[in-house]
Amino acid sequence: MARLRLTGRGMWITALIVPPLAFVALFIVYPIISAFAYAFYDWQGLLRGDFVWFDNFHKVLFVEPYASWTRNAFTHNIMVFFALMVLQNGVGFLLAYALWRELPGARFHRIAVFLPVVLSTIIVGYLWKLFLHPLFGVVNQSARAIGLPWLAQPWLGQDSTALWALIFANAWHMVGFPTLVFLAGMQRIPTEILDAVRMETQSEWVKIRKIVWPLVAPSATVVFVLLFVGAFNWFELPYIMAGLDGSPYGSTDVLGLYFYRTAFGNVSSGQQDFGLGSALAVLIFVFIAAVASVITVRLRAREIQV
């Protein structure tokens, strides 16, 4: 009797656990492992050819023109990461600090700052593309109207400003996320500590640097790592606002676009190369995993010290 119940229970647990496990195994684990395997083969369209060892990696990293495309895209990802560190996480921290004071209207400001976050990147991309239109866009129209005609630039059309326009649009879209994560971190700082600080110093700067910043370290860790992963996976916004080729002249090309173009081809050339694409994917993946773990370990250590 007991044994029967035991097997019944075992079957019940199996029935609960196997279907979800199967989904994750089939659609996450298996594709990611395969991506590594694919990179070592020569591909003819959708057909897998010979095992070519590290040829694809070698090509992507050292053979022209691929090597300079890779370098170009990679440089842009680095720029995007650091710029967003300031414009998104830095501004987010400042806004969180302002919201934390619970000034009149804080609730409304909190809802407003998070509103763009719930919108699709596609909507945000098209919205800013229309706003940044050189002739009819709202941005240039207002610049001319308030007497600052030098601000009326073809922002998306010239290679010196296009990437910055994308970075700005991204910051507008996502700044609410770090803001509210930082805010939650600040709200968890015990009031006793804050009271004690007030006895010691009147300087707002000292308070932020010595108390608030160290105590929101766990929030900072999460926000930094997520931004890093996001910056190196950047695809939708440049795809919508700059196109698959990273126009103008590759000045907005990033690894996500480059990977997609290599793997699935673009409008001008229908050529697709799964081998090179997979090699790129593996390199990006390993890079993200390595750097993200280093950042996490480093920042975690900072959390414990405090």
Partner: protein
């Protein structure tokens, strides 16, 4: 709170405090303006003609002028995209919450060999950027014959949503008391009965959090449809929007009303449920 505030003013001087708070308030108001103005201009422009948009972009429109919306409703595939998005997102959410709760319940309520390993397996899926596995996923969908079929999206979204859901739900279900379960077991209820009638009614709050955390990225996703779906009648809203924006690229009023219509469902739900949205979407980042 007011007591501490008083001492604070005493020490610092009311002018200094007001100056500081004033500056913070100015920052907040300026930021809120930057956040909301683009959305308001988008909605205004949806009711305007090209001429009005170019000449008076900030002017209040005549809200009775719904010509752009009528055009979208009758002349484009927009309603179809909207329906597809609801279908795909809805099916994925049902699967995620059902399968996620099943796994979390088994891991949290029963002791069995490998339980913690299975939890680790799910959590590992949390951190992997699945976009980079798009080539094998594409081949997999082709091999099982659901390329250019919405099932491909539903399956990928379900797999992507499971790690967070299992993570949130396991943590929550572990905190539920044993007494109810034991009492029901004493009364001879079957395991399935205990799960369905006794425990599940208690896990609803966690389901809401897990649901919101997943529903927004799925509703907004563009990347997987871009690769998996070619047939225009099967496109979801973000993907359909790219087709639509290309077709009407000279008619700005229609473009803006397309954007407004696409944004409307999620903005409206967000305004009603802002607190749940904020806690749901940031819950992964806040411990």
């Amino acid at each position: 709170m007011s007591a501490t505030a008083t001492t604070y003013y005493d020490r610092k001087g009311i002018i200094g405090t007001l100056g500081r708070d004033g500056l913070l308030q100015i920052i907040l108001v300026a930021n809120t303006f930057i956040m909301l103005a683009p959305i308001i201009i988008m909605i205004f422009s949806a009711f305007k003609s090209n001429m009005e948009i170019f000449q008076a972009p900030f002017a209040l429109p005549d809200f009775g002028n719904v010509g752009n919306f009528v055009k979208i409703w009758t002349q484009t595939n927009f309603v179809r995209y909207l329906f597809n998005s609801f279908l795909v997102t809805g099916s994925s959410m049902v699967l995620i919450l059902t399968l996620g709760t099943m796994a979390a319940y088994a891991i949290a309520r029963y002791q069995f060999f490998g339980a913690s390993f299975i939890l680790m397996f799910f959590i590992a899926g949390l951190t992997l950027p699945l976009k980079l596995a798009i080539i094998p996923l594409f081949m997999l969908m082709r091999d099982i014959g659901i390329l250019n079929n919405q099932l491909s999206l539903i399956f990928v979204y379900t797999a992507m949503g499971l790690p967070t859901t299992v993570f949130i739900m396991t943590g929550f279900i572990r905190t539920l008391p044993n007494e109810l379960e034991d009492a029901a077991r004493m009364d001879g209820a079957s395991e399935a009965r205990i799960m369905w009638s006794v425990m599940l009614p208690l896990v609803r709050p966690a389901m809401v959090i897990a649901g919101i955390q997943n529903v927004v990225p799925i509703w907004n996703d563009f990347f997987f449809p871009l690769v998996f779906i070619q047939n225009d009648d099967l496109k979801t809203l973000p993907q359909g929007l790219t087709t639509f924006m290309g077709e009407y690229n000279t008619d700005w009023g229609v473009l803006f009303s397309g954007l407004t219509l696409s944004a409307a469902p999620i903005i409206l739900i967000y305004i009603v449920l802002s607190r749940q949205f904020i806690s749901g979407m940031t819950s992964g980042a806040i411990k």
